[in-house]
């Protein structure tokens, strides 16, 4: 159902399919861990989405490419109260 929902074309039994399946299983373990911190209704929920068959390295290399630029601390007027 994941392949259908997210239009994945790799064939079952292929090397790529096996690798993606492994990453998918890793993702479900992460979801259990991430969801264990809070069950309050408004809290973040983690689960299967379009990135669930990517390894964390692949995800980082594709989507987490922003460079950090340090900025000076804000020194404007305080807004206490």
């Amino acid at each position: 159902s994941f392949r259908k929902q997210f239009h994945r074309l790799y064939e079952i039994g292929s090397e790529e399919s096996d690798r993606r399946h492994r990453y998918f299983q890793d993702a479900t373990k992460r979801h259990a861990y991430l969801n264990s911190f809070s069950a309050a209704p408004q809290s973040a929920r983690y689960g299967i989405n379009q990135f669930s068959d990517l390894s964390q390295e692949e995800f980082r290399d594709l989507y987490l490419q922003a460079q950090t630029s340090r900025a000076p601390c804000f020194s404007g007027p305080k807004t206490v109260g």
Binding site: N49, A66, Q67, T68
Partner: protein
């Protein structure tokens, strides 16, 4: 400050985009802020060219990554006018920079401010209301698995790796949160948006925040 504020309700925030397999979040963040400020100043809300920033901002590395502050610095220094997205469409690949004549219409950055608001997120709320949507960088490692709700854990500060656009906040509920537009399409998160707890610099959202002036 109002208890909640959302620039989307003023129809000055363009729809969620999808950067696809290209590390262009930094360009989407900057262009998103420019589009909104342009609309806040009375122009029609119009999507501007992310591809132009991606191809032409030489201080950055196109789809291999970049910094919103370097892009803003380039826009300010060169006075380059961003053309509409329709004239320079997004391809999710770094390409050759297309130049336009000075007489060609477009939107230019005249200035920008960049600050670290860690420990001062209320002041950041003030900037959002006063200046318009803000570009920011965050730690988004755990966002690979995000489905919805307010992020309060699993997010570090000072390890930023992703650029986003802060478009609003809501402090009326039990957990005050930022409303953040991402560039991973509408099927991700809350129809393309993510909510981050206000206070504690969750995900490093206050580490490096910029407002643009046109």
């Amino acid at each position: 400050l109002p208890a909640k504020f959302d620039w989307r309700q003023k129809a000055v925030v363009a729809p969620v985009q999808n950067q696809q397999a290209c590390g262009s979040c930094w360009a989407f963040s900057v262009v998103g802020a420019m589009q909104s400020v342009h609309a806040i100043e009375g122009s029609k809300l119009e999507q501007l060219s992310v591809q132009q920033v991606l191809d032409c901002s030489y201080k950055n590395k196109g789809c291999s990554g970049g910094s919103p502050l370097w892009a803003l610095d380039w826009l300010k220094q060169t006075g380059v006018k961003l053309v509409p997205q329709s004239e320079y469409p997004y391809k999710a690949k770094t390409g050759i920079c297309h130049f336009f004549s000075q007489s060609h219409g477009g939107v230019a950055v005249t200035n920008f401010t960049a600050h670290d608001f860690s420990g001062q997120e209320e002041a950041m709320m003030g900037q959002l209301v006063e200046r318009g949507p803000l570009t920011a960088i965050v730690d988004a490692v755990s966002w690979q698995d995000y489905l919805g709700g307010i992020i309060q854990h699993h997010c570090s500060s000072q390890w930023s790796n992703h650029a986003i656009l802060v478009v609003g906040y809501d402090t009326t509920g039990d957990i005050p949160y930022w409303i953040v537009q991402n560039s991973w399409g509408t099927t991700w998160g809350n129809e393309g948006y993510v909510y981050i707890k206000i206070g504690g610099n969750v995900c490093g959202i206050a580490d490096s925040v910029a407002a643009v002036f046109l």
